[in-house]
């Protein structure tokens, strides 16, 4: 498959200026005003753009460049607001002026008229997903009521990353890589969505995190990581159709088991605090639950096909979880584990929203095609992996903090026809 024509380029060293971070929202006020004016103009320009493209079969060059500038400006501003970039962005969306930038086709491309005609309709799934990521973009604006949509809950991941990144940057003078990468992922996907909707390209947005962040350095491997067979995208239509009902016994069981795990975690916390490492049986009990939770999530959210077992046994499911043994853990981290886990739980909740949207879209796709789309599958796997890392951390299975980067988790999850240069996501 050809690489997507809309590519996110990142030249960021994670360093942040504390003063500009502290006042970031205030500093961005001129940009908000400018964005509002530009967006008004864009609304009418986009309609004209659509008519021209529909008649000619290709967008007009001037309008195309105008759309590109607008999209690029969106990327710069969103990166600045979400702390994915440090410097103050320019107002014209010029190429190469900002460390977080986007490559867009220089010239308009010929596109099938039918897809131009129904572009708005076709973009709806991508817009839904985009709203869960960054929640900005010309895409939403073109609706006319996009402002409402944006205000109603879009951009949860970007918002969560910006919110947490703000505190971290103020303290450390650096943006945590995981949060930065997650924000970049949302920005990249929103840029692709906007480009699709504004006829900059007819290539549908690709939600595969590894493809979107292909040029970014990957973080170290986390002790809690997803392993197994990712390439089996086949989905049984019948079990997909009834997936929620079929998952019910698992949801009940995972809840009941969860109550037991919480109760067990209390003595385990004391053991880990005073002994320096969790008790082996309690650790195994919690680890099994975390793995079982992943199995259930994979089934429920259509990340994997088969009905899982009820025991959370290692190697029993195509999408499995590698978990560490009971190792010595830092006592300070153990003592304040619940407090420390709060940021991770916030990111986890934000990713949960994206996971939900992705699973609904996958549901429709799988019913029609009998398979799961690779991009959505990988997005969902990323969300599930983070969830597993969060609960493993919270339940003292590991003291390694969850890593929010979509790139974590390494090897071999490329489809047979995938670009070999891209980093895989487990």
């Amino acid at each position: 498959m050809d690489p997507h024509p809309i590519v996110l380029t990142v030249d960021d060293d994670l360093r942040r200026n504390r003063l500009t971070v502290f006042f970031r929202l205030l500093l961005a006020i001129p940009h908000f005003l400018w964005l509002f004016v530009w967006s008004l103009v864009m609304f009418f320009a986009a309609i004209l753009h659509w008519f021209v493209a529909l008649v000619a079969g290709r967008p007009a060059g001037g309008l195309h460049r105008f759309m590109c500038s607008y999209l690029r400006y969106q990327v710069h501003l969103t990166a600045y607001l979400t702390l994915a970039g440090n410097p103050y962005p320019g107002f014209l969306g010029e190429e190469g002026e900002y460390p977080v930038d986007v490559e867009l086709p220089a010239e308009p491309q010929r596109q099938p008229r039918l897809t131009i005609l129904f572009r708005l309709l076709l973009a709806v799934p991508a817009l839904l997903l985009s709203s869960a990521f960054a929640g900005t973009g010309g895409a939403q604006f073109q609706y006319g009521r996009g402002v409402n949509a944006r205000a109603s809950g879009g951009g949860t991941i970007a918002f969560a990353c910006a919110f947490l990144g703000w505190f971290a940057s103020l303290v450390q003078g650096r943006m945590p890589k995981g949060l930065r990468d997650a924000a970049l992922y949302g920005i990249g996907y929103s840029a692709q969505t906007g480009a699709y909707l504004l006829l900059v390209t007819d290539r549908y947005p690709n939600s595969d995190p590894t493809a979107l962040l292909g040029g970014i350095e990957r973080p170290p491997v986390h002790p809690v990581r997803i392993v197994g067979e990712p390439h089996d995208l086949r989905r049984s239509r019948l079990t997909v159709f009834f997936r929620l009902l079929l998952a019910l016994p698992h949801l009940v069981w995972v809840s009941l088991w969860g109550v037991a795990v919480v109760l067990v975690s209390i003595p385990n916390w004391f053991v880990a605090l005073f002994g320096g490492r969790p008790a082996r049986p309690l650790h195994r009990f919690a680890a099994r639950w975390v793995r079982y939770r992943l199995h259930v999530g994979s089934f429920l959210y259509l990340v994997a096909n088969p009905f899982p077992g009820f025991a959370g046994a290692e190697g029993s499911y195509p999408l499995d979880l590698e978990l560490p043994d009971e190792r010595r853990q830092d006592r300070w981290r153990t003592a304040f584990r619940i407090l420390l886990a709060i940021p991770a739980l916030i990111v986890d909740a934000a990713l949960g929203w994206a996971l939900l949207v992705a699973s609904v879209l996958t549901w429709f796709y799988a019913l029609v095609r009998g398979s799961a789309p690779w991009g959505l599958r990988n997005l969902s796997a990323y969300a599930l992996r983070y969830d597993a890392q969060t609960y493993a951390y919270l339940l003292l299975v590991t003291d390694a903090y969850p890593h929010a980067s979509p790139l974590e988790g390494a090897e071999a999850e490329l489809p047979p026809d995938h670009e070999p240069a891209l980093h895989p996501l487990a």
């Binding site: 019948l238 079990t239 009902l245 079929l246 019910l248 016994p249 009905f307 077992g309």
Partner: protein
């Protein structure tokens, strides 16, 4: 040699059935033959017959569809084992849920048709969207119960082999008892406001020896216009539940007293206990037949047997339906009799049963097939006949020295 234990078991079964069948309705009571036209107008009879006919058709269509779907599923359903990464029991649960889901889906059009018919006759006020999407909680509960049942059966089958049905049947009876016990607490009810009916209920319950059985009201008028009442619960949970549709002014107070007395009769005669008893009597042979039927598929311990087991269960259920209805009619007739004895108001009973025809569109004198398959109460004409018979019975008792 094996015939002796079987005969002994059959004798025990028959003895238990005889004990449960006993009734307080006098054996000498003779129900007079009545002409339905004496009590109901031609238009009422026509409306009731027409309404019932459609219901029978949708039931027949739904049942045939259910059987067809399950037959196909019994043949090919085991293939879905490959969609499972769970062990045999988990896979069995998956296959059971899939079969159940397919049946639910196949029956949905018939349910919608039935709803359309009921809405057309102003019997139901449930919207189509509510019907399709509003009751997911109940559907989810059914799925969970199915999973629990399969886990019990398959677990026992894997544990004790082909004799699994011996411990399974009492287990299911226990579950039925539990349901019977907790059901009243799951119903959203409130106190009966009408003081005179409340006072009447206290008197009637005292006469039946079931004092302090609460009479409560369930609000259903948003979903149906059908008047109904039921006795529910066991021991401390027992109560008499009146639908608020009974209390909307369509029925007179003497008629409502008959309703309360009828339900008190159920409580006094231990009909819920007896229902559980009958369930137990059917559970043993039922589970035995199920075990027998799936033996060629490896028994209930194997997931591949589940699709066939579902079909067998439904067939057994259909076959048992006439017997269940007969037992239910028998107990309802006894409750009617108790109501006549405690209220001593056969005229009110006749008035109540006559009013049921325009309000419930129940056919007062259905065909034999309808009677056998659908009627779990005596027909309205039979109930009126019992009231008439009581009049003569009471008169005879008063004249005797």
């Amino acid at each position: 040699m094996r015939a002796a234990p079987a005969a002994a078991l059959a004798a025990v079964w028959a003895l238990a059935a005889w004990w449960l069948w006993r009734t307080s309705v006098p054996g000498s009571l003779h129900l007079p033959h009545l002409d339905e036209h004496r009590f109901f107008s031609a238009s009422q009879l026509h409306a009731a017959a027409s309404f019932s006919r459609f219901g029978e058709l949708t039931w027949a269509g739904g049942s045939l569809c259910q059987l067809a779907v399950l037959a196909v599923y019994a043949r090919y359903g085991a293939r879905f084992s490959r969609e499972s990464a769970a062990g045999p029991i988990g896979t069995g649960m998956l296959l059971g849920m899939l079969g159940f889901a397919l049946v639910w889906l196949a029956e949905l059009p018939f349910g919608v048709a039935d709803l359309w018919w009921q809405r057309r006759h102003h019997v139901s006020y449930v919207g189509y969207v509510d019907f399709l999407f509003g009751d997911w909680l109940a559907l989810a509960a059914q799925f969970l119960f199915l999973c629990l049942a399969l886990a019990i059966v398959m677990g026992l089958a894997r544990l004790v082999g082909r004799w699994w049905w011996l411990p399974a049947a009492p287990l299911f009876v226990g579950v039925a008892l539990l349901f019977a016990f907790v059901t009243p607490w799951l119903l959203p009810t409130h106190r009966l406001d009408d003081p005179s009916l409340r006072a009447a209920a206290v008197r009637l319950e005292a006469k039946e020896g079931v004092s302090r059985t609460p009479v409560v009201v369930q609000d259903v008028r948003d979903v149906t216009s059908l008047p109904n009442a039921e006795a529910a619960g066991l021991g401390p949970s027992r109560r008499i539940v009146l639908f608020d549709t009974l209390l909307d002014g369509r029925f007179t107070e003497p008629e409502l007293r008959v309703v309360v007395a009828h339900e008190a009769g159920h409580v006094a005669r231990g009909h819920i206990w007896k229902s559980v008893g009958w369930y137990a009597l059917f559970a043993f042979p039922g589970t035995f037949l199920l075990a027998l039927a799936v033996r060629r598929r490896g028994g209930m311990g194997e997931a591949a047997a589940i699709p066939l087991a579902l079909l067998v269960l439904v067939v057994l259920g259909l076959l048992a339906l006439p017997f269940q209805n007969a037992i239910s009619r028998h107990m309802e007739a006894e409750a009617d009799w108790r109501a006549l004895v405690t209220t001593r108001d056969p005229a009110a009973a006749v008035g109540l049963f006559r009013r049921f025809v325009p309000t419930t569109l129940d056919d007062p004198n259905p065909s034999t097939l309808d009677y056998v398959l659908f009627e779990n109460h005596p027909t309205l004409l039979q109930r009126i006949a019992m009231a008439k018979a009581y009049e003569r019975y009471a008169a005879g008792a008063a004249q005797s020295p």
